[in-house]
């Protein structure tokens, strides 16, 4: 089972057309291994990308070097998935089949 420990989801907000163009090409930069959750729509609209831990620092440096503002939307994707899984398990326990 594939797990996502240390994967972060970054929310990047392009400020101008130049930054918008840079973000449009993100998926093509294969070495970052990004998973674009919410793609580019326009200036001031957020773009969400999941970044694996081993490319996180390089990717953040890339964003900094292009003056791209970002915030961390999800600190650890696996923590959310564990919560989701736990929630499903406890919900299943509550609804036991009737005899």
């Amino acid at each position: 089972k594939e797990t996502f420990e240390g994967h972060q989801v970054l929310r990047i907000v392009p400020k101008n057309e130049l930054q918008l163009a840079l973000l449009k090409n993100l998926e093509e930069i294969v070495e970052f291994e990004l998973d674009v959750w919410m793609g580019v729509t326009g200036v001031s609209y957020p773009v969400d990308v999941r970044v694996p831990p081993h490319t996180l620092e390089t990717f953040k440096s890339y964003l900094d070097s292009h003056d791209l503002e970002y915030s961390t939307m999800i600190e650890d994707v696996q923590a959310i998935l564990d919560m989701e899984r736990e929630q499903m398990k406890s919900a299943a326990r509550l609804v036991q089949p009737r005899n």
Binding site: E2, E27, D35, G39, D48, L81, E84, M88, A91
Partner: protein, 306 residues
């Protein structure tokens, strides 16, 4: 289905069981049609809500074509129950169903959905292998024969937006294509995704406005206004290429080109914290508000026959 837990996410087998239960409980209103098989051999089930007549004008709704967007399948389950609950009580829905059929495909990409539960929660595509490449799957929302292969889809099988080797190469897509063509009387086609809060109409592959743009735009405005009336969730709306980005081979571009005027695609709500990993407590509010927009689209279709 009264005791079904609509406020939680469910496995594929639970969705299949739910569908059978709903049919068993409402034999005069709901039936199950199997329109094909997924790549891995799972049935592609469609619930048909019908009060009679043959080949009535119809409304199509699908959820979960991108498997990881779990809130869409969960909303689909809620919609199914809502239809049977409200028929005979809600005058607008009753009028629609007395004259039209509703088709609802809840698990549109069942292989992908199963995979999200068992192997990779982040899986979005189909599960067909790509010969000569180690990456699996095709983006089923880039696989339609509408601007297929143009910019706005990837040629790389490892990309999340890989368009596939040819239009309708995915059985999950081809089964809908065959169904829509053979039915021939579908008037509204709504494909539901998440997240980012948008209601979109064709086109995605060209900036040329579609013939019905003015009507589609004002109807979208009405639908998102109704949606927002419940919890204040704000949606953007417009054509795919103007509101999001160029996307070729997308579902509703194909359906519009088949003559289905009211072709829309939703991106459901985002709490701003989790993306498409919405906490289960968001399912019912999401479904409730979306239902208001669906009713606006369905009611308009019913009142504006073409």
């Amino acid at each position: 289905t009264d005791s079904f837990d609509y406020a939680n996410y469910h496995t594929l087998s639970e969705i299949y069981s739910f569908q059978d239960m709903l049919v068993a409980e409402n034999p005069n209103l709901v039936s199950k049609i199997v329109i094909g098989q997924s790549y891995e051999g799972r049935p592609l089930n469609v619930l048909k809500f019908s009060t009679g007549g043959s080949n009535r004008p119809a409304i199509w709704i699908d959820t979960g074509i991108h498997s990881r967007e779990w809130v869409t399948q969960a909303s689909g389950l809620w919609f199914a129950k809502k239809i049977v609950t409200d028929y005979g009580k809600d005058s607008a829905l009753t009028a629609i169903l007395n004259n039209m059929d509703i088709f609802l495909e809840i698990a549109t990409n069942p292989d992908g959905y199963y995979f999200t539960h068992t192997s990779n929660r982040m899986w979005r595509k189909t599960r067909k292998p790509n010969p000569g490449n180690s990456c699996y799957g095709v983006d089923p929302n880039r696989n339609w024969d509408a601007g297929f292969g143009l910019p706005g889809a990837s040629t790389n099988p490892c990309s999340e937006t890989y368009h596939g080797p040819s239009a309708h190469s995915e059985s999950e897509v081809k089964s809908i294509v065959d169904f829509v063509k053979s039915h021939g009387n579908i008037k509204t086609f709504i494909s539901i995704h998440s997240y980012s809060q948008m209601l979109l109409y064709p086109c995605g592959y060209t900036t040329t406005p579609v013939k019905d743009q003015a009507e589609l735009h004002s109807l979208a405005e009405k639908a998102i206004t109704d949606l927002a009336s419940l919890y204040g969730t704000r949606y953007r709306y417009g054509s795919i290429i103007n509101v999001i980005y160029q996307a070729s081979g997308s579902t509703v571009d194909w359906t519009y080109e088949q003559g289905i005027k009211y072709s829309y695609t939703f991106e459901l709500r985002d709490t701003g914290s989790y993306g498409f990993l919405l906490p289960a407590k968001q399912i019912i509010p999401t479904a409730e508000e979306t239902w208001l927009a669906l009713m606006a689209l369905m009611d308009h279709t019913y009142k504006n026959p073409y």
